[in-house]
């Protein structure tokens, strides 16, 4: 476990030391706050717009954090950083798990910052406290980082460096639409990622409260899918020659 945490620590240090991350958070806050000005343009739907904006931007921020790992692993492999780390008593599986864990934790932290910022802005704009549905929708967006990180690590291992970020982004994009295959039991949620299970964006506006059991299940599913993706990636990675 120490080894996994050591690798994860390296990853979140990398992300949290990027100035671009803080600039991203600032831009997200500004965009969310700008929704206040859309009352005329949206015929007084600016409140719903702000909620939707916050969820979309939170999702995009999480996706960007996840995509950053698709740059990190291939670069480490190419430059030889990975060979230094893997020469230590560190299994290749642990290396991949550490990368996924580091990305997940960083994604959760950044998402939490965005959520807190949104709630402050919302309270300031409308004088209302946030509803449980809004909070839970945001929590689900944050939790979606778990399976997304596993997907990113998986693609980093099997696909050439040049196209990994693009393929990962496309895979995440389409993973929100796999509910069309919900009837195919093993495929949906087993092999194919089902990120739509985390999509309660409309519920934030119209709903009251999601069962907390559901949120617990979403964590479990995220872990199950991550186990699948990382195990498969590890099987392939173990046979790979490290530069």
């Amino acid at each position: 476990m120490n080894e996994i945490l050591a690798i994860a620590g390296g990853t979140w240090r990398r992300i949290l030391r990027m100035r671009a991350v803080y600039f991203l958070i600032l831009c997200v806050m500004v965009l969310i706050a700008s929704a206040i000005n859309y009352d005329v343009l949206s015929l007084d739907h600016h409140k719903d717009l702000m909620i939707d904006f916050s969820l979309v931007l939170n999702t995009l921020a999480v996706v960007l954090i996840v995509i950053s790992v698709t740059f990190e692993i291939p670069v480490e492999l190419r430059e030889g950083v990975a060979s230094t780390l893997l020469s230590k008593p560190l299994g290749r599986t642990h290396y991949l798990v550490g990368k996924a864990l580091g990305t997940s934790i960083t994604g959760l932290i950044i998402s939490a910052i965005i959520i807190a910022g949104f709630f402050i802005i919302f309270n300031f704009a409308f004088g209302e406290r946030i509803s449980m549905a809004m909070l839970q929708s945001h929590v689900l967006v944050a939790l979606s980082v778990i399976p997304m990180s596993a997907m990113a690590v998986f693609f980093s291992v099997i696909i050439p460096e040049m196209i990994t970020p693009i393929v990962t982004a496309i895979a995440i994009w389409f993973a929100f639409s796999t509910s069309a295959l919900a009837n195919v039991k093993i495929l949906y949620g087993g092999i194919l990622p089902a990120l739509d299970l985390y999509n309660f964006k409309s519920f934030a506006v119209y709903g009251e409260k999601i069962n907390w059991d559901y949120i617990g299940l979403s964590i479990l599913w995220g872990l199950a899918f991550s186990t699948f993706a990382l195990s498969l990636a590890s099987l392939i990675f173990r046979q790979k020659d490290i530069k």
């Binding site: 080894e3 230094t84 230590k88």
Partner: protein, 319 residues
């Protein structure tokens, strides 16, 4: 417990997969046994397969065939890796990390107890003279500084065996001397050292054993002294005896005039010529002095390589 720290048996590696597999192996049936307590120098020209061999030791790449064991266990064994210190060729580390942070990560990976981590890191940084750069980011380091950090992380766990890939490359003369001192100090402390290098003079001064690799094949390996044993002789001719020098010069491999007017000629090992020389010695007496000639490593290295090239060419021509 094996008596050999590193042992390979017909170890081969051919890069590529299926249709993309290369024709020639990068490493061809390497059989090598390195005993404990030696400093082993692994030599070879560029592309010989030295780095491939080292990566096979470290389980960074998988062999196509053959076996390799380190300290009696298969390569890649996690417990064995705890006892190895490894410095890769052209070390690269996470640029965003500070030197101290990177070493802390390595310490965690090596499962050094948390109470000892800080002390060990400070020790190794002091050894490589990088203490003042502990809080600086690795991204701003020069090649030489990175090499030092690389050596530091290799020594962090007080390894039983140090495997260094081209450790002297990129270092200034001062740095190279410091590293040589470290290697010698490690040897005295009982650490086995295996390293590859191009700088033959350094290998000659530090190593107990060497191996020469060329085009994936191990041409020779063993004790340095036995490999560089008497090969031919040197003949000193007194001044004023140019006729003797002229007579012997055609058979010599090297000749030069001495400051005192005399001549020094070097000859290859040749039984027939040896007889001729002995006869000349008996004839000329003190005007000729015959001494055994010890080949230097560089000569030995080039000769070995050239012989291998010739052999390969002859084989290719079917002779």
């Amino acid at each position: 417990m094996s008596e050999y720290v590193i042992s390979t048996e017909n170890l081969s590696k051919t890069y590529g997969f299926l249709f993309w597999k290369k024709e020639k192996p990068s490493l061809d049936k390497l059989t090598l046994k390195i005993p404990k307590g030696v400093v082993f120098g692994f030599l070879g020209p560029n592309g010989a397969g030295k780095t491939t061999t080292i990566k096979l030791f470290m389980d960074l790449i998988k062999p196509s065939s053959g076996t390799v064991s380190i300290l009696g266990k298969p390569a890649g064994d996690i417990e064995v890796k705890r006892k190895i210190g490894f410095l890769p060729d052209a070390p690269a580390f996470s640029q965003y990390l500070k030197a101290y942070e990177f070493l802390m990560i390595c310490a965690k990976l090596l499962r050094i107890p948390s109470s000892e981590r800080k002390k060990r890191i400070e020790e190794v940084l002091a050894k490589v003279k990088m203490t003042e750069y502990a809080k600086s980011k690795l991204g701003g380091f020069s090649r030489g500084m990175l090499q030092r950090i690389g050596i530091a992380q290799a020594m962090l766990n007080k390894p039983e065996i140090l495997i260094l890939d081209e450790p002297l490359t990129g270092l200034d003369p001062h740095g190279r001397q410091e590293l040589k001192d470290i290697i010698i100090a490690q040897k005295k402390a009982g650490t086995n050292v295996f390293f590859s290098s191009h700088i033959l003079s350094d290998v000659e001064t530090m190593c107990d054993q060497i191996g020469i690799l060329h085009r994936g094949k191990l041409l020779c390996h063993g004790e340095l002294n036995s490999l560089l044993s008497e090969k031919g002789c040197r003949v000193m001719i007194a001044a004023g005896k140019e006729d003797i020098a002229k007579e012997l010069m055609p058979d010599s491999i090297k000749s030069h005039k001495l400051n005192n007017g005399g001549w020094e000629l070097e000859f290859d090992e040749d039984e027939k010529f040896k007889e001729k020389l002995n006869l000349m010695k008996e004839k000329e007496g003190n005007f000729i002095t015959i001494m055994p000639s010890t080949e230097n490593l560089e000569t030995f290295f080039f000769r070995t390589i050239e012989n291998n090239i010739k052999t390969v060419n002859l084989n290719a021509e079917g002779i």
